[in-house]
Symmetry: C2
Subunit: 379 residues, 2 copies
């Protein structure tokens, strides 16, 4: 079943019409994933979707059993009938529905070669691609969750909290554990509780690796509870929706510089949470938290947070206003409005380790509701 | 450290020069993954790479700690110095290295909007995009594994075999188990043995779901060992390299039609394995195995196999020769030569269940070496 409500789809169609767009093409394949396809059609993956300005939809899929069960579209096309050429099936579907020339919109991330092929197949038609077009409409739609999506995210974060509660006891009864032991524990707990699995590679980093932004490998054979500052960044997928938390930890006699990282991180976190209120622009919260860390001479090389939903990095983004002119051209102020669910995750990276508190927050009419319970664990 | 040998890089550079290409752009981001970047530079992800015709490389990365440790490039650029605009950093790197107009090649999957931006930034330069260009050179390079890659794949398949051996005892001592219980078992065994984790979502499908091509969800709460035909399709990542096997199973008193599926699947598997010899074109093996299944009135809606390596779907592909003229235009016959490592996985889908034997095969000078030990398990 599609996730987008009639109201959200109507807004998208109305935007398409106002810009003279006859049809939008969505692609979700191994070479490039796009959850908008699932959002608009219910089809989980590996398909093309055409959304026409009259609201009708054509899905071109491979696994007709899955598509038949899950997709909610007007026309379902088996790519097998086109010798497994999605391009041929897309061209045929466009011809069947639209006569003469038309205006097709593709997403900024659409594969360049497919666009060249389509332009060649329809030389009199126009292909439009702009970050402030359909992509932006879908960011707007997906940023504000439906009541059903909020229910699922409440369930998923509740399960995440049960797992967070198990971290301290697990470490206490397994002192000397390896990073990978904690990763196995977290991922097994997820599946035991009915989650589909981790929403991204579970990161477990001891003091030697916590200063990286994204650890490679995600969890190693190294001892986890060495003296210093450490963290685990993990999430689970619950009924298709991602959660995402980071639990930072400190082991043993840490240095004054490491303690400063912990303290400044907590200050930045509290500062961000206290700023949250319905309508506050996302970039202002991000700039304040990152500014606080930088003013203490510390490094935070990423944004303050991001939406969670069908993707672990869902809209909206909580990042400072860009300074690059080309990025600024397409930038829009994003007020944090009720129905948005996002992470707040100020973090500090350094060569003496990294530290990051990350929780998932639902904005409501009366202010932020912190859905997850991550807190620094001090051993 | 980069994976491509000097010999392979020289072949790529020589091809670039012969086609008048000055520089190739690679992108590996959340919106579109490309392991060629890792292959050519050692950088695991989240970066742009420029490969110039003189062999020099520029990497534009976010996590400078990871890049500093792992990337092997001539120039390392911190995207933070470009206000986190990869596009701005790419433009700057192109300007620094190339004077005047130039010819830039992008991969077929490169995001369309970035290509539009680069064309606007360099109006006198030419942007080339063709499936039989650099993409094909990298398919050729990555299809034939280096001795070091083969060693890693031998290790990974050995670990996979240890896990395969545990499946029958696990099911026998957990009769009535859910699909998800088997998934947890397999994934825990992977991590226990030092694998990074599953190389793709572990699929576990009882008789009601084994007929799908790619199960959604990948493993459910349903009872796994119901009477009928079932399967688990899984793999692990070992030192960055994917393995991929399918173990099919039968439970209880199956019907004659289900037995026919098992028998025909075995015949197609044996037929394919027996055809393997150095130099045989991949499409001939695929056509024979799929033809055998179809001639028995059964359905096999996918290719016979695929390479394994940095990706679980690595080159080469073992698929029938395409019939679509546009696909045929860029198709090349692929002889299965020594050093290639690929799956052989004939499978049958139906509404009374699916069955698929899948093993990983290394082609050697003296013929195929079957690296994994999947066999149907009959309960």
């Amino acid at each position: 079943m599609k996730i987008a409500t009639k109201e959200k789809i109507d807004a998208i169609l109305s935007d398409m019409k106002s810009r003279g767009i006859d049809v939008v093409l969505f692609s979700d394949f191994e070479t490039g994933r796009d959850k908008n396809l699932l959002y608009l059609s219910g089809q989980p993956s590996d398909a093309n979707l055409l959304l026409f300005a009259d609201g009708s939809t054509t899905l071109i899929a491979w696994d007709m059993i899955v598509a038949g069960q899950l997709a909610e579209v007007d026309t379902l096309v088996d790519v097998g009938e086109f010798n497994r050429s999605y391009r041929a099936a897309v061209e045929d579907s466009l011809k069947r529905k639209l006569s003469g020339s038309f205006t097709l919109e593709v997403l900024p991330t659409e594969g360049h070669f497919l666009v060249l092929q389509l332009q060649e197949a329809f030389p009199d038609s126009k292909i439009v691609c702009q970050p402030d077009g359909i992509a932006n409409m879908l960011i707007q739609a997906r940023s504000v969750k439906t009541p059903k999506e909020i229910d699922i995210l409440r369930e998923g974060t509740k399960v995440t909290n049960e797992i967070i509660k198990g971290i301290r006891p697990f470490i206490e009864s397994n002192r000397g554990l390896r990073e990978v032991d904690l990763a196995i524990f977290l991922e097994t707990e997820m599946k035991k509780r009915g989650a589909e699995g981790p929403s991204f590679e579970t990161l477990v980093a001891n003091c030697d690796r916590s200063g990286m932004i994204h650890q490679v490998p995600s969890a190693s054979e190294a001892q986890f509870d060495k003296t210093g500052i450490a963290l685990t960044d993990f999430g689970l997928t619950w009924k298709g929706y991602a959660t995402d938390v980071t639990v930072p930890m400190a082991f043993g006699n840490i240095s004054a510089d490491q303690q400063k990282i912990i303290d400044v991180n907590r200050e930045a976190y509290d500062l961000a949470i206290n700023m949250l209120e319905p309508g506050i622009p996302a970039h202002k919260v991000a700039e304040a938290a990152i500014g606080h860390i930088k003013s203490n001479g510390l490094n935070m090389p990423y944004g303050l947070g991001h939406g969670i939903g069908l993707e672990v990095h869902d809209p909206p983004r909580l990042a400072p206003k860009p300074t690059d002119p080309e990025m600024l051209k397409f930038w829009q102020e994003t007020p944090l409005v009720p129905g948005m669910v996002f992470t707040i995750e100020p973090g500090i990276t350094s060569d003496i380790g990294g530290f990051r508190i990350e929780n998932d927050v639902l904005m409501t009419d009366s202010g932020p509701e912190i859905l997850t319970i991550s807190e620094p664990i001090i051993f």
